[in-house]
């Protein structure tokens, strides 16, 4: 595909995504899309850790919950304006990731996964028992939505309705996707991949693996935290289960099925396993059964996921054309 055509088609897709709420006036569909975008951000943040740096972290749900709680508490208890509180939520999550990466630096393989799992459970537990601050398992009701902004071409925009919240979520999602893309193709991103492939070898050429792992964790926790803040702002109700382990595990499922270490893989995985079953109204039990079967089939047949299959097909097509 020629370069110019590709750029135009990307802009066309983005424009179409923005125009969806203009055409589709169904609240249910837009609501579904907002959740699709939010969970995709969590999946992207997981992919940054696992797909690029090789860190199988199950703590993404915990960071999501921290972002959500930080946003809600800063707005409701400290009286912060909503936008700074949202950004601060991401920063709080990222700062929490620093001790987490300090703890997990030394751990190899499965120990790392189990330790992040334990930390995720500790985060949920802390949110449950710290009643004075978080209102315990009752959760926080009536989290205010993020404040509207003034746009020169559209006037005052509020984010109170589903239809106006969608463009906001889409913009943030596209920014996250863009940042991931830039990061993956930068020197830092290639260093991440070098650490994933061989940590000892990468440190022998002067890379500091611990520093880069911490950077990756920091960025990834920030993305999860920002997604959490957005979630709290949209739903208006959070409780300790907002930091549930299964959020992190779902991000894992989406990433592995969509394509580990590819830019769009986690998004595709989320579309196939999160949104489409929801549209088809598949029973959650049956959906979980499908999750399990798909996971096992993917690790057996296509370790690089759906994106890997597509890539292999494209390469085969190109190869045959050349002959």
């Amino acid at each position: 595909m020629p370069g110019r055509f590709r750029v135009i088609s990307y802009f066309g897709i983005i424009l179409a995504l923005y125009l969806i709420p203009v055409v589709v006036r169904i609240d249910y569909v837009i609501n579904l899309l907002i959740f699709f975008l939010i969970w995709s951000m969590v999946a992207l943040s997981f992919n940054l850790l696992f797909g690029y740096t090789g860190l199988l972290s199950i703590a993404q749900g915990g960071f999501f919950g921290i972002g959500a709680y930080a946003y809600a508490l800063l707005v409701m208890k400290a009286g912060w304006p909503t936008w700074p509180a949202w950004v601060a939520g991401g920063i709080v999550s990222a700062v929490v990731s620093l001790p987490v990466s300090a703890i997990t630096f030394k751990l190899k393989g499965h120990y790392f996964a189990i330790c992040t799992l334990a930390l995720s459970l500790i985060i949920t537990g802390t949110l449950t028992i710290w009643r004075d601050l978080t209102n315990g398992s009752l959760g926080l009701v009536g989290v205010p939505p993020i404040r509207g902004i003034f746009l020169p071409w559209a006037g005052q925009v509020s984010f109170r309705s589903t239809f106006s919240f969608y463009p906001l979520t889409l913009t943030i999602f596209l920014l996250v996707l863009w940042v991931t893309y830039l990061l993956a193709n930068s020197k830092v991103g290639r260093t991440f991949q070098a650490i994933r492939e061989n940590e000892a070898l990468s440190s022998s050429v002067g890379v500091n693996p611990n520093y880069h792992k911490a950077v990756c964790f920091f960025i990834s926790a920030m993305i999860s935290g920002l997604a959490g803040g957005l979630y709290a702002s949209y739903i208006g109700f959070i409780h300790p289960m907002t930091s549930d382990v299964f959020i992190g595990l779902f991000a894992l499922v989406c990433t592995v099925v969509g394509g580990t270490g590819t830019i769009l893989g986690p998004v595709i995985g989320n579309l196939l396993l999160g949104t489409i079953p929801e549209i088809l109204r598949i029973d959650p039990v049956v959906r979980n059964l499908i999750f399990g079967i798909v996971l096992i089939v993917v690790v057996r047949v296509a370790p690089k996921g759906i994106m890997g299959i597509l890539k292999a097909k494209r390469q085969r097509a190109q190869g045959s054309r050349r002959v």
Partner: protein, 284 residues
């Protein structure tokens, strides 16, 4: 206080059975079998199901059915899920095990529904011990668990087959050199691990309820136990189990039940910081 202590002791003896199954598989295949908790859950469901057929008078038959069924399932999973992935990157088996969690849990939900069932025990009555009431069921649970801990230790450290398992877990190619069929040893380990999960499931069903997500909490406790005790070590799992039990009991008695998780997993994280190989784990 003594009531807490005794109940905590009984519960941690079940967790140790779960941890033993987990640590056996870990030592031989280097995979944290995330699906082990679901095997425990399945053991409890098979217990409820077979108890309904054969009646509470044939209780030991129920135990045997559950053990055999889970051992067979362990063999099946090893052969068709884990064996083909043995040469793949380490994270792959972990993800496959996660897939099994989803499959087993939803299958059970499709068959038995989401209701909380109870597993009746054949033992009636209770004794008074140091001001606490201990039901005969709990006495039975504790004695059976301790008996199994001893039997498993004897099997692994004192028999020819146990020696084979340990040899394969140290070095697969080394074991093959001296004529040990490592595939057979790995299958045996999975069967043993499944059998332990079957017993643990039934025992757990007596003290809690039987429901599709019941395997998650013991699985996490078992992870904490084997990391504190040292991955792959059987005495470590037993010591770690009573250690976690003591921590949890104290946190419940002093604070409240909500603190138990934080202290148990806090101990796990602390162990990984201070001594990543655990109390009795071997050096890598």
């Amino acid at each position: 206080m003594s009531q807490y202590l005794i109940n905590g002791l009984v519960l941690s003896s079940i967790y140790i059975l779960v941890a033993l199954g987990l640590t056996l598989v870990y030592s031989i295949l280097d995979v944290p079998n995330f699906a082990h908790g679901e095997l425990v859950m399945l053991g409890a469901y098979i217990g409820v199901f077979s108890l309904g057929i054969v009646g509470v008078t044939n209780y030991f038959l129920v135990l045997v059915i559950s053990v055999l069924a889970l051992a067979a399932l362990g063999l099946f999973l090893e052969k068709f899920i884990f064996r083909p992935l043995r040469s793949a990157p380490p994270a792959t088996m972990f993800i496959a095990a996660l897939g099994l969690v989803y499959i087993l849990q939803s299958t059970v939900q499709l068959i038995w529904g989401k209701e909380w069932l109870s597993l009746r025990s054949p033992f009636m009555g209770a004794i008074k011990l140091a001001g606490a009431t201990v039901t005969y069921t709990r006495v039975f649970i504790f004695s059976l668990s301790c008996l199994l801990m001893i039997l498993i230790s004897l099997f692994v450290y004192r028999t020819w087959l146990g020696k084979g398992i340990r040899a394969v877990s140290q070095s697969e190619s080394g074991a093959a050199l001296v004529g040990i069929n490592s595939n057979r040893m790995i299958s045996l380990t999975f069967a043993l691990s499944g059998a332990l999960a079957g017993v643990a499931g039934i025992l757990l069903g007596h003290v809690t309820f039987v429901f599709p997500a019941m395997g998650f909490s013991p699985l996490l406790r078992a992870f904490a136990i084997i990391i504190i005790g040292g991955m792959g070590s059987i005495p470590g799992a037993i010591i770690g189990g009573f250690f976690i039990g003591a921590i949890e009991t104290l946190s419940v008695a002093v604070f409240s039940a909500e603190y138990a998780d934080i202290f148990a997993f806090g101990a796990l994280v602390l162990t990984l910081i201070i001594r990543p190989r655990g109390l009795m784990g071997k050096l890598e």
